[in-house]
Amino acid sequence: MKKRLIGLTIVVTLIIGVFSFSAIAKTTLNILATKPQSAMIDNFGSEWEEISGVKINKIEVPYPVIFDKVMTDFITGTGAFDAICVCAGWMGDFVGGGWIMSLDELMEKYGYPEWEDTAPAIQKVVNWAGKTYALPFDGDCHNFYWRKDALENPVYQVKFEKEYGYRYNIPPKTWEEVKDIAKFFNGWDWDNDGEIEHGIEFIAKRKTQAQWSLMDVAAQYTVLRGKTDKYHGVLFFDPETMEPLINTPGWIEGMKMLQELAKHGPPGLLSYGYSENRITFVKGTCAMVFDWGDIGVMEQDPEKYGSTVKGLVGYSALPGASKVWDREKDKWLYQYNQINFLDFGGWVWIIPKTSKNPDQAYKFITFATNPERSLLEVIGEAYCGANPWRLSHFTDLDGWIDAGWGKESAAGYLEAIQSILEDPEAALDLRIPGTNEYYDYLDLYLSKALAGEMTAEDACKKISEIWENITKKYGRKRQLDLYRESLGLKPLE
């Protein structure tokens, strides 16, 4: 009996020991992401765990705190994360501070699934001074959406022409035109559903990325098309002096236009973050909206998002402007100007220098973003907030139709995004250290201008002064060098 007991004890101890050892020996990948990007781990994490034997620990935080969480980890050197899904706009902070790995070595070692299949604009976004610092995941840019049953209704078109003296374009060509259309469709039941509808909506709430709404409009009045240099292709700073451009007539005109547009939106527009913006539009409350590609995904899924407008939405790149400010000649050029702007730059995956398992992290991210899986992500079947970014996403129309998209909708949606991502002159978002601070002040004073507490001129002047101070604090030379690097310009002699 005693022998048996000893034997049993040994066996139990061995079993426990083996299990414990295997549990300890199993590599754990700690991956940080916000919602809905973290859904990528839900969608493909377990499949990867089975293939690789690596355990994935998903750490999810809300969007407003992810930057804080990441930077705190970097500064304290904790090394809590192996891979992080971040906004491409923060690359300036991460690369400038030397916190993240260049991925060129890993790409060479393990290869990358179809790099040529990545849209040129996205390759630009993940690149910094000739090196790849992030893995693509999302093709972010703002699109313009409109209700076809409103704007394409011939009766309304005639009525509009009578009132405004011209026939509008579909899609609207300029923001001036958008303003008139928004005014026309604001405050009456144009879809006969018994509810009052509104003209236009956009993200306007403080601390919910409203600054990008302003950039969509201001870029059209500020950025001159052409190869990036002192006077072309730049939106934020003079790339030779680091002087802010926000107090130039182009930005001021953009802010004034946004103030005008806000008058033709829902009464609670100033409380619209991206959630409210998307949900209300797909519920059919507005004639026009501009936002990221997510609206298309939500529009196509009545079951999940309560969309009442499936198939009734038109898509295009952002409208342009009828004039643009020429800084070189210091005057308005009265010509059509349309700029594609890569708002936010998209969500990308980075590997911190403190990552304990960079190889495994790289392998998992490339596994989950290969052509097949990324298609499922962007069409909404494995929705995780990603919009089309691979060239194959634009050509595989059947994949979209199989996922429940209408043929016309899928074609229009893809054409709009592709035209932006394939534009070699698309303007890049700000990517220098302190971007969060520059943008927070832009957001704050935009909020004051939209609430009628400040004129556009005063708000732009104030932002310009504050941006100057931020640049001084970070060091003008350093910021200038990094700004030029982020634009792909050579350092100044």
């Binding site: 403080r206 009464p267 609670g268 527009l269 409380s271 409210e276 209300t280 250290p433 609430a451």
Partner: protein
């Protein structure tokens, strides 16, 4: 004998030592560290290099419009919530101190808001107060009243945050004041009735003076807590519209953990601490004088 006394003395110290160590590590050390940081320019995003700038950060605070705007809002908010919650709490406590059916049920119901985490309360009220989609405006419209711009009008948005705070924290006042009312000696009230005092006179000349010490404590506790306003700003308005609901705590958070401007954030924290301390001492002094 001496040995025994000495060991008794040491035992006492052993018991309080963990608390002292905890206090030093978690409170004293961070405070001193933050004070030291406030004399440096340190953008942590760029790495560990810090530049000593003396009183530069404090000088910048004096010129910082955003600091003064946020301080003004924070003071307005604290003043409003403390006064409203005190009076409402006092009224409700007097009501619940009487005997009536379902008294215990109401006592529990009133305490419920206080048990919810403030960030969850913020998420809930953000939905309630949304001007186009929120349930409050839907109800107002249903009874024929106009829409209220709860979170989009700069003036009304400030009041909205006060309403949320009052909803959540009046029960705290109620609970403490009810406990105080229930511990009052009945004989004094009996004597007042014999002397022909009206209910109003009884309240003004007996209840209120007896409640003064607890009221002072409650005002201080609520004021200190309200000064830390963060969750409602963060969760309901994001500081908007027009930055009108940005509290000083939220600004410090942005400076420190969003811009990673650690030196300036530390200086702001110290200034904030001194302001709160000064105001609390001032209020305490006045209340004590009144009580005398």
């Amino acid at each position: 004998m001496l040995e025994r006394a000495k060991s008794k003395f040491l035992v006492k110290w052993y018991f309080i030592l963990p608390a002292i160590i905890f206090f030093i590590i978690m409170i004293i050390f961070p405070m001193i560290w933050a004070l030291r940081l406030s004399f440096f320019n340190w953008h942590a995003i760029l790495g560990p290099k810090m530049n000593f700038i003396g009183l530069g950060n404090f000088y910048d605070i004096l010129k910082d419009e955003r600091f003064w705007e946020d301080l003004a809002f924070t003071l307005f908010y604290v003043g409003m919530v403390v006064i409203i919650e005190l009076f409402l709490g006092l009224g409700l406590a007097s009501l619940l101190n009487r005997k009536f059916r379902f008294r215990n049920f109401f006592r529990i119901i009133y305490l419920l808001p206080m048990t919810a985490p403030p960030i969850a309360v913020a998420a809930l009220w953000r939905m309630f107060l949304q001007p186009d989609l929120g349930v409050i405006n839907k109800l107002l419209v249903a009874v024929g009243l106009p829409l209220v711009k709860w979170t989009t009008d700069p003036g009304i948005a400030r009041i909205s945050l006060v309403i949320v705070d009052v909803w959540q924290w009046t029960p705290f006042m109620l609970l403490a004041l009810l406990a105080a009312l229930q511990s009052m000696p009945q004989e004094i009230y009996d004597a007042a009735v014999v002397d022909g005092a009206s209910p109003g006179q009884t309240f003004l000349h007996i209840t209120l003076p007896l409640l003064s010490p607890i009221i002072t404590t409650l005002i201080l506790l609520r004021a200190i807590d309200a000064f830390k306003l963060f969750e409602y700003t963060y969760g309901i308005t994001g500081g908007g519209p027009a930055g009108k609901t940005e509290s000083l705590s939220y600004y410090i958070y942005l400076r420190g953990l969003s811009y990673f401007d650690m030196g300036y954030a530390s200086a702001l924290s110290w200034v904030f601490l001194l302001i709160v301390l000064g105001i609390c001492l001032f209020v305490l002094k006045i209340m004590r004088r009144e009580m005398r």
